[in-house]
């Protein structure tokens, strides 16, 4: 655990050293802030016009922003280590593949966690505006975090199979577009057994399930299995070099 934490700390630090963290936090807060409080999604749907004390607009915007930002966060994680050869340095120390992968994963999840933490003032503001369903809001934060974690797993795997960061970004972004965006809008048109598989892989259904305020184990299992699977694949891909 010490080793995982050491790697995670170093990684988080390099997010902040290389400005990635500030760009991510800045853009995340500007986008979500602007759309949640001022503009809304489509004419007059900002928080004041909706007449409902909830964070629907925020979570919706955050979802979209994360689709773009997570690939940017994960692309360099392992690709850069492979390119510069520092991965050899890490793995010849008392570090296992698993510890390395978990450390990097943890750093990214914490980074997203920090971004979400910065939006807590939104929540606090909302509570002063009216009756808030606290359960729903906590669940939608949880849903965003789980969705991000699963997406980070995909990004980490993409970063482990190439030493080119751009390639890693594109793979992750492309998979993100399919599972987080395209499937969301094609759900209704898909049928048959293939259709039901694709519908099951639709991140948005599971995300929405949790964000509505229901902690259905089915949805939790979905995200945890994606995380487990992608991290396992990443370890395999690291082990393949040998």
């Amino acid at each position: 655990m010490d080793v995982i934490w050491t790697i995670a700390k170093k990684e988080l630090r390099s997010f902040f050293d290389s400005l990635i963290a500030y760009i991510l936090l800045g853009a995340f807060l500007i986008f979500t802030g602007f759309l949640t409080w001022i503009y809304g999604l489509g004419g007059g749907s900002d928080i004041f016009m909706r007449g409902q004390a909830d964070l629907r607009v925020f979570t919706e915007v955050a979802y979209w922003v994360l689709v773009v930002f997570i690939p940017a966060l994960t692309m360099r994680l392992l690709a850069e280590e492979r390119k510069t050869g520092t991965i050899e340095l890490l793995l010849t120390k008392a570090v296992t593949n698993r510890q390395l992968v978990l450390g990097k994963f943890l750093a990214c999840v914490l980074m997203i966690g920090i971004a979400l933490l910065f939006t807590l003032p939104y929540y606090i503001t909302i509570t002063t505006l009216g009756d808030v369903d606290h359960g729903v809001i906590i669940c939608s934060y949880l849903a965003l975090l789980l969705m991000s974690a699963a997406y980070i797993g995909i990004g980490l795997f993409a970063s482990s199979i190439t030493d080119n960061q751009i390639v890693a970004f594109l793979i992750t972004f492309f998979l993100g577009l399919i599972f987080l965006v395209v499937l969301r809008f094609t759900t209704a048109t898909l049928s048959g057994s293939m259709g039901s598989i694709l519908n099951y892989l639709n991140f948005h259904t599971h995300y929405e399930g949790i964000a509505r305020g229901v902690l259905d184990t089915k949805n939790l299992i979905f995200f945890f299995s994606i995380i487990f699977l992608t991290l396992q694949l990443t370890q395999l891909s690291l082990a393949k070099r040998q």
Binding site: D2, V3, T6, I7, K10, R13, S14, D17, S18, T84, G85, T86, E88, L89, L90, L91, T92, K93, A94, V95, T96, R241, Q242
Partner: protein, 309 residues
């Protein structure tokens, strides 16, 4: 801890990088690993540090197999990879602290160990810089510092002096020599005087095979069984000296040195020395022996002989 390598083989596709090699390195020994590019030096070192898997054979460190106990053994190994990869955006102190903590150095000891390495590797003036701001020589020192930060019993150094200036090379060699008294050191290099200066033992590897193993002296003997003397004999007729030298029972071949009428090269019969006979001959004839130098085969020649076929 000792390193024992048994019948080690590594293949990359159809290419055999390391072919059934076996050797041992004892504690307190500095082994120089020599060979042309692509001979298998780096691959062997990567297998010792368990960065690449072993195809056949085994490596034992302190009696434990690297194939099964890699996780616990890695703590005892300090490794400087080829090309010395580093996190350029990190500050030196942070980087060394990071490496120490990965190697399981306890939190309370990290500052002391870091300071010690900064001192030993001569990084004191640069210690607050980021690694990316350092010159190549200083980066190499950082590479050495991270390899030794946890005071490992085994040091694997892949070209430790590359990129250093002559003064730094001498310093680093001294450092390795001092460390080598208590540790087991394997270092690879292209620089032949370096192995002579630092290593107790030399291992020459070519196309994945060990072609020579021994001290610099034994290698010389192996390479050239005959003694070659360069002598200068004055106060005599060069022709007469020449014929008398040739008639010595220990000498096999005598050569004149061009433009030096009194200088001769004597190649002795295998496993015999002509030194005494030459001296006696001079005494008998009242000649002045003003030079008698045994010519050593250069390590370069041995290296070329062994690796160019």
């Amino acid at each position: 801890m000792d390193i024992r390598i048994e019948n080690l083989t590594k293949r990359y596709g159809p290419q055999t990088a390391v072919n059934n090699i076996s050797f041992e390195v004892k504690p307190g020994e500095i082994l120089g690993f020599l060979g042309p590019n692509g001979a298998g030096k780096t691959t062997t070192m990567k297998m010792i540090t368990s960065y690449v898997n072993i195809d056949e054979g085994n490596i034992f460190i302190g009696g434990k197999s690297i194939a099964t106990d890699a996780a616990s053994l890695k703590k005892h190994i300090g490794y400087l990879p080829e090309h010395n990869p580093l996190y350029l955006e990190m500050a030196i102190m942070d980087y060394l602290g990071f490496c120490a903590s990965l190697q399981g150095v306890s939190k309370s000891e990290i500052p002391a160990r870091t300071r010690e390495m900064i001192r030993v590797c001569g990084l004191n003036q640069e210690k607050h810089k980021r690694i990316g701001e350092l010159s190549k020589g200083y980066r190499q020192r950082v590479g050495l510092a991270q390899a030794m930060i946890h005071d490992p019993e085994i040091l694997i150094l892949d070209e430790p002096t590359s990129g250093l200036d002559p003064n730094q090379i001498v310093e680093i060699r001294e450092l390795i020599k001092t460390l080598g008294r208590q540790k087991t050191v394997v270092l690879s290099t292209h620089i032949l005087p370096e192995v002579e200066a630092t290593c107790d033992r030399i291992l020459i590897i070519n196309k994945g095979n060990i072609v020579a193993d021994g001290t610099a002296n034994t290698l010389r003997k192996q390479a050239k069984g005959q003694e070659v003397l360069q002598v200068t004999i004055e106060d005599g007729d060069p022709q007469e000296i020449y014929s008398k030298l040739q008639s010595l029972y220990t000498s096999q071949l005598v050569d004149l040195v061009p433009e030096q009428p009194h200088q001769f090269l004597i190649e002795s019969v295998t496993e015999m020395s002509s030194k005494r006979e030459v001296f006696k001959l001079c005494v008998q004839n009242n000649w002045v022996l003003s030079e008698l130098t045994p010519l050593e085969t250069k390590l370069e020649d041995i290296f070329r002989d062994l690796t160019l076929n």
